[in-house]
Point group: C2
Chain length 243, copies 2
């Protein structure tokens, strides 16, 4: 049986990886990923062969991994954060249907939601949801529905891919939808470049967030009705019956 | 400034911790936590002082941490999974209001949602939410509302604390609510003792899940309308427009 590890390397560089992830990469002959992520780990795994494919070439990247594995080489496919959260793990299983002799092992990592939460304080202490604002593979109506339901249910909401060149006003649109159920004073937070050079965090209100420009390296957090600011940190209580 | 690390140790034992978490524990004079979690890491950090408090004594545990820190000792408060997901990070900030000379550093870890997802396959590839079925600190009506909204919005749903002695029928009640919007054929998964001895995973339908007994060490996953079973694995596609 050939073997591919699908490895989440966490939000930043080496010391945010788990021991299990490091072991998998050390055990691999070839490490494959999107160029940016390969650059993050390259220096720590000398002697390995590295292969990259650009963004939007995810299927090609998966095929490349299976082809290398079929040569009998041990392969790691790396993703930033967790490979199973908007990551490559799902596509690897789908492409893997054509490669029945290759086994996948998914190695979890710290995703941007929990990595960013740690920088902001403790926003995700209670029920929360993750929503990607990218409509590349999901119709905007579906995203809109999820935003409205999440707001109505009083989830803490974490937004991935809040912006891009083509979608510069999507965060504003999302905030307007959320404000159908949430007060403009709702405590929110943004974190960019989590655990990397230039890490930057800010706690602000939903009303202020609406008029804030964020880039594609930013993760956005919208508090629930109980979330508060405590000494500059964003903190959600454990429950609704006091501490 | 005194210092407390609030550290997520991941779902299992040592090799699921990040390098940053290991560094914090090595850097600490005293490591505090719930008895079960302290036992998981104890052998790897000899020479440290360990302190434990039982379950439901979380506030006492926080006060203990701040009192130790005020003596000038470096303290780590450990949690299983991620300290910011139903963990101690929020309560530490709340209790910390009375200890202005002590600084908190939250160190993220792999939470049961992503740790369990990796065992099942790739269920969390698209928008998802976490809901705890424990009504110890949250009214059941609020949990019910979140289940219904999450089902309506077609989120993948991950359930924490699906069962306990007192709440043996809560998972059944939750499944019945979800089936107002989801087909009984919806692909689901359960994982228990993630990354520990006795790890056990199963893929099943929502209808089957309804009549399954799970214990408090189980994390439950309910797929969205696109989630499928692929060779025994639970896989959610990246989007709604094909691969």
């Amino acid at each position: 049986m050939n073997k591919i590890y699908v490895v989440g390397i966490g939000p930043g560089a080496y010391d945010q990886m788990t021991g299990r992830a490091i072991r998998a990469l050390n055990d691999s002959d070839v490490i494959i990923g999107y160029t940016v992520y390969v650059d993050l780990v390259k220096d720590y795994f000398s002697g390995k062969e590295f292969m990259t494919t650009p963004m939007k070439k995810e299927v090609d990247r998966c095929v490349l991994a299976f082809e290398e594995a079929e040569k009998g080489r041990t392969v790691s496919m790396i993703c930033s954060g967790d490979a199973g959260v908007y990551g490559m793990a799902g596509l690897m299983y789908e492409v893997g249907k054509d490669y029945p002799d290759t086994e996948l092992e998914i190695i979890p990592g710290v995703t941007a939601a929990t990595g960013g939460a740690a920088v902001l304080g403790a926003p995700l202490i209670h029920d929360f949801c993750l929503i990607s604002l990218s409509d590349l593979l999901t119709p905007w109506e579906k995203i809109e529905k999820r935003l409205l339901c999440a707001a109505e249910a009083d989830f803490v909401i974490c937004l991935y891919n809040p912006s891009s060149k083509k979608r510069h006003d999507y965060l504003q649109k999302a905030c307007d939808l959320l404000m159908k159920y949430r007060m403009p004073e709702t405590v929110c937070g943004i974190v960019s470049h989590i655990a990397r050079e230039g890490e930057c965090a800010k706690v602000l209100t939903l009303g202020e967030l609406r008029d804030t420009n964020v880039d594609m390296f930013t993760t956005v957090f919208i508090g629930n009705s109980q979330t508060k600011e405590l000494n500059g940190k964003m903190v959600t209580p454990r429950g609704y019956r006091g501490v």
